[in-house]
């Protein structure tokens, strides 16, 4: 489903060159729940950004669902992200000016979906995360756990095959964290392929497979 070969990421400034990722080779099968672990600054989020086509590698190849994406135009990449990928971020990244349901609808705005259909799909996604009673609320009126559930609803509303979660429980207490992980596990059981970045060993152990990074290098 997701294949990375010899991926390298270098950040260059006029005076310094930083190797963020070095020779990464990953193969995530369809329906797998994989976690990426490592200490802060080891390149976990950079790797997830590259898998999610939010950033381009300096070297190496990426295949999503069997298609190499190097030569994709910005427009094609946007379409691929829209159709195949769903993102969950540590700091939620909800748009405070939009209501919960409007936030959840965002991925559908970039498809040919009618307003009525968008509303129905967004309601369905919010029901899945148990927040159908908060549709008209605004992000500032929600707790951290609720915000992350909205973010999950937004990630799954377009029914993507792959969900990428960047420390989804990082800003939550452990009870709330477990609740979020439970939702992710349920989505995985329903067929979604999930890649989750975490530095929480206990969380990582609950996934199918663990990829460890250290200083930008894959150690397991």
């Amino acid at each position: 489903m997701i294949k990375l070969q010899n991926v390298e990421k270098v950040y260059r400034t006029s005076s310094i060159e930083t190797l963020a990722l070095n020779n990464i080779n990953i193969d995530v099968k369809k329906g797998e729940f994989v976690s990426i672990m490592g200490p802060s600054g080891c390149g976990k989020s950079t790797l997830l950004n590259i898998i999610g086509l939010l950033d381009a590698p300096s070297k190496g190849q990426i295949e999503i669902d069997g298609s190499p994406v190097e030569r994709y135009t910005d427009k094609h990449l946007a379409e691929l992200r829209n159709r195949k990928l769903g993102f969950i971020f540590q700091s939620f990244h909800l748009i405070n000016d939009l209501s919960v349901i409007d936030n959840v609808e965002i991925p559908l705005l970039y498809r040919n979906t009618s307003a009525k259909q968008r509303r129905e799909l967004a309601q369905e996604a919010l029901e899945k995360v148990g927040l159908s009673n908060r549709m008209k609320h605004f992000p500032k009126q929600l707790s951290g756990g609720q915000k992350q559930r909205v973010a999950i609803a937004r990630a799954i509303v377009g029914k993507p095959e792959i969900i990428l979660a960047d420390e989804p429980t990082g800003n939550l207490d452990s009870a709330m964290g477990n609740e979020i992980l439970g939702i992710l596990q349920k989505l995985n059981t329903d067929g979604a392929t999930i890649v989750m970045v975490t530095h929480d060993e206990a969380m990582a152990k609950k996934t199918d497979r663990l990829i460890r990074l250290f200083d930008g290098t894959q150690v397991s």
Binding site: I95, E105, P107
Partner: protein, 414 residues
């Protein structure tokens, strides 16, 4: 999609009231200036009282004699005879009216002088124009034939000369430069900006001092040619050109000083432009200058708005990152920010429309232009909307482009 964009735009406006106030203040002020200018241009060139048929009228107002090298030139209005011979005979026209360019005279009331604008016209003048008769009627062919001392005056002159007490002044006598004229009609006056129809008093062209019998091509008269419908204008122009082309050189050469005669039947706007521009090249230059001035009026506040918008990109970075992450192509984001900007501009436009309405009411009431009738009519309104759109685009494209190009990973870090 559009609702989503507008919701965001509205929320962004509410987020920082002071910034919003500054932004809207700038937009409103700029658009008000442009809308008042538009309204004034419409006042000058649009079809308004008493020239409501301008869309199917042609003006013959200037006769130019020159040589092919353009070294000598003589220009000015034509003689009555010239217009009678070459304009009045137009077969493709519905009506042709001849009137003098302008004239001045004095009348005295209780020893106090009243300065008057005078106009000598034919009978067709009252058909080609749309004067509203408050009392009486216009002069007719019999008055012209008999060279009757009759006059049509404006309501303002009536009030000044006779004092308005509600009593009809038709049949009363007005003394102008020691000649007594019988008032046969009172019309609602018109603004002086409509130069070919504006006057305080109108006489038949056979009345004293009109000089309609002057010989030669040049004189003090102009003509308004009325077509049955606007589509006939080119045919009338072609017929008039052919009349002019048949004039033998001896008639305008003035002892071989000139070998080119230029007389055009132009629409009011073209005629106005031809006063400043002789050739197409001049006209393009004039359009370029006007365009540049308009661009400056809109451009400077737009640049300011661009700066404010660009400096606030970071505030929206997370939103841009999220939208891109979930599949928004750069083009969709570009449109989002342009639409938001146009939405804000239209809010400013709505305020500007209210302000423009107040300003033109003030101008109309101030008396700076007598009988001023500046309005926000449909053309002015449509042009105002177009101006809003252009301003919105002008100030929105660059910030939108910058925003749409933000790198996702970096935008999400903010």
């Amino acid at each position: 999609m559009l609702t989503n964009y507008i919701k965001i735009a509205w929320k962004v406006l509410l987020r920082h009231p002071f910034y919003t106030f500054i932004t809207l203040f700038g937009i409103t002020l700029t658009l008000t200036v442009l809308m008042v200018v538009t309204s004034f241009l419409d006042h000058l060139f649009g079809a308004h009282y008493p020239e409501e048929k301008r869309s199917r009228s042609l003006y013959i107002a200037t006769l130019i004699q020159t040589d092919s090298a353009n070294t000598t030139m003589s220009s000015g209005p034509a003689s009555f005879e010239f217009l009678k011979k070459y304009a009045k005979t137009l077969k493709t026209a519905e009506r042709v009216s001849v009137m003098n360019n302008f004239g001045f005279s004095n009348a005295y009331v209780n020893g106090k002088r009243i300065k008057l604008n005078t106009k000598y016209t034919d009978v067709e003048f009252w058909s080609v124009t749309d004067f509203e008769f408050l009392e009486g009627k216009p002069y007719d062919e019999t008055n012209i034939r008999n060279a009757d001392h009759v006059a049509v005056i404006t309501d303002a002159l009536r009030d000044q000369y006779f004092g308005f007490d509600g009593e009809s002044v038709v049949g009363k006598t007005i003394d102008i430069e020691n000649i007594n004229y019988r008032v046969i009609g009172v019309v609602k006056g018109s603004p002086p900006t409509r130069v070919y129809t504006y006057s305080d008093v109108y006489f038949p062209y056979t009345a004293p001092k009109s000089n309609y019998e002057e010989k030669g091509m040049r004189g003090r008269f102009v003509a308004i040619v009325l077509a049955k419908n606007p589509a006939d204008l080119p045919a009338i122009q072609a017929e008039f050109d052919s009349h002019i082309a048949r004039i033998p050189r001896s008639e305008y050469s003035d002892n071989n000083r000139f070998n080119v005669l230029i007389v055009k039947a132009d629409t009011y706007f073209d005629h106005f432009l031809s006063m400043f521009t002789r050739s197409d090249k001049d006209r393009i230059a004039l359009y370029a200058i006007v365009g540049l001035v308009l661009l400056m009026i809109m451009g400077l506040p737009a640049v300011n708005l661009v700066n404010v918008n660009v400096s606030r990109i970071l505030e929206r970075a997370s939103e841009i990152g999220v939208r891109k992450a979930f599949g928004a192509p750069a083009k969709a984001l570009l449109w989002q920010f342009i639409i938001e900007n146009i939405f804000i501009t239209f809010i400013g436009g709505a305020f500007a429309l209210i302000l423009t309405f107040a300003v033109i009411q003030f101008i109309n009431a101030s008396g700076w232009i007598a009988y001023a009738d500046l309005t926000i009519n449909l053309p002015v309104f449509l042009i105002s909307i177009l101006v809003c759109l252009v301003f919105g685009l002008l100030s929105g494209v660059l910030p939108a482009f910058r925003m749409s190009r933000l790198k996702i990973a970096e935008a999400l870090k903010v």
